[in-house]
């Protein structure tokens, strides 16, 4: 008699526990306003990333096509992965001296681990995080970017 009774309480307990679980799923089924999925890529126009989002390393330029990079190469040494390559150029100053400036600031996005050490190390705040995140390309060489724009120059008041 006892085992007979246990048999039915077991069934009762099992069905009850399953129904408790299904109550939760049922509740969400009937409350679609609790849906949390983002409709990407349909919401591309309105999608805004957080200000601090680490999408890629960029070099901000002002409206006169000027940046803050002196070409010192500190970011190149700070980077753990060899992601940054600095190519320097020498220009003649009016007083006859030679000065080194940045020729190309090459950034290999495919090798970047987004650690932020280059941005932290830069003494003249020339680098920043960009919010772009759609980096998929068909050709790997497209991931090698030159951060200083063509024809750009350094902002006057930066001293090394």
């Amino acid at each position: 008699m006892n085992s007979f009774f246990e048999y039915f309480t077991d069934i009762y307990r099992a069905v009850k526990s399953l129904l408790t679980g299904m109550k939760v799923t049922g509740r969400y089924f009937f409350s679609p306003w609790e849906i949390v999925t983002q409709q990407y890529p349909e919401n591309r126009k309105t999608l805004k990333m957080y200000d601090r989002f680490k999408g890629e390393v960029i070099m901000p330029h002002n409206e006169h096509n000027e940046h803050r990079c002196t070409g010192c190469g500190i970011c190149e040494t700070a980077c753990p992965n060899g992601t940054i390559e600095i190519i320097q150029a020498k220009i003649d100053m009016p007083d006859g001296k030679k000065k080194r400036i940045i020729d190309k600031h090459i950034y290999h996005l495919g090798m970047c681990t987004f650690c932020g050490l280059c941005i932290k190390a830069c003494p003249s705040d020339a680098l920043a995080w960009g919010q772009e995140f759609e980096h998929a390309v068909f050709d790997r060489s497209k991931l090698n970017k030159t951060l200083n724009q063509p024809g750009s120059s350094i902002i006057k008041d930066i001293v090394e």
């Binding site: 099992a14 799923t25 601090r52 932290k120």
Partner: protein, 375 residues
Amino acid sequence: MKEVIHLPVQNVEEEEYHINMGPQHPSTHGVLRLVVSLQGEIVKSLKPHCGYIHRGIEKMCEKDTYPQIIHLTDRMDYLSAHINNHAVCMLVEKALEVEVPERVKYIRTIVDELNRIASHQLWWCSFGMDMGGLTCFFYGLRDREKILDIFEESFGSRLLHSYYTPGGLMMDIHPDFQKNVKAFIKYFRKKIKDYDELLTGNIIMQLRTQGIGILSKEDAISYGVTGPSGRASGFACDVRKHHPYGVYDKADFKEILGTKGDTFERYMMRMDEMLESMKIIEQLIDNIPAGDHTAKMKAVLKLPAGEYFQRVEAARGELGVYVVSDGNKSPYRMKFRSPNFSNLSVLDHISRGCKIADLVAIGASLDYVIPDIDR
């Protein structure tokens, strides 16, 4: 005429055979290969084969400077990235005898606990999925997303943050951080009830986990099983409690200990730990002192020659970092004592005699992260 060869008739019932579980098995949560000897459906023994995702992180550390090492530790146990960072940062600070500001300690402790909750949430997702309940996966991820949003807003990334630096933090927390964390805790206290209703009380899940994969306290100690898996066997191994770091000594929390050491107990440990973590955060979040977010550090960090060790409580157990320095800017030798490697070593011992379906449940309850095993 061709001679017919009669093979000896084998008793298939008693014959042991080997199957490969993994490297691409969904329940191993990564590229882990388990060679399982089976007799029928019973697991006779099991051999884990590691190394599929070995990247040589310890060797790579030897060429990197200490600030650069941080970003490699993210990629070991990626689900407790902040906590791994914390271990290396504290080691460097200890070696250089730098006192970090109180604000940094508070923020680090809070962020560590958030990281632990996020990690346990993902564990709950995958535990449910391994037991056959796909719904769990979506509910768990939905709540984890809230934490990842907080992380993204403050630190810029969702999984691999590299937020701590030796001596402090990369940047200060976002002005909305405290508000959002408090909102999350309020939200999650409600939602965690769903977890219990959906999975904890479920009869199928209970029958499949209770009394399965029992690990005794003695074995837990001798195999070095730490974290929630070890505490389920009654092994008091919480580094936060016994060797407090950060501001854990200022928070009031319980060390959750189990008695039975079976799969269900290991499950309950993590569920209870999420509640404890929320308790820690609640106590600290309003008391973050004002101040600088980093201590004054030299441009090049050179540890004095010698040996250093630092341990922290990662989401899966005790993470130890051991450094031999010869006085240069990069370590001479770096060794990580990763919790998952020790936890995996016990899998053979506790799954002998179980059914192969139980092996999946036991594996899920040990919660291994493969990149941490292989490093």
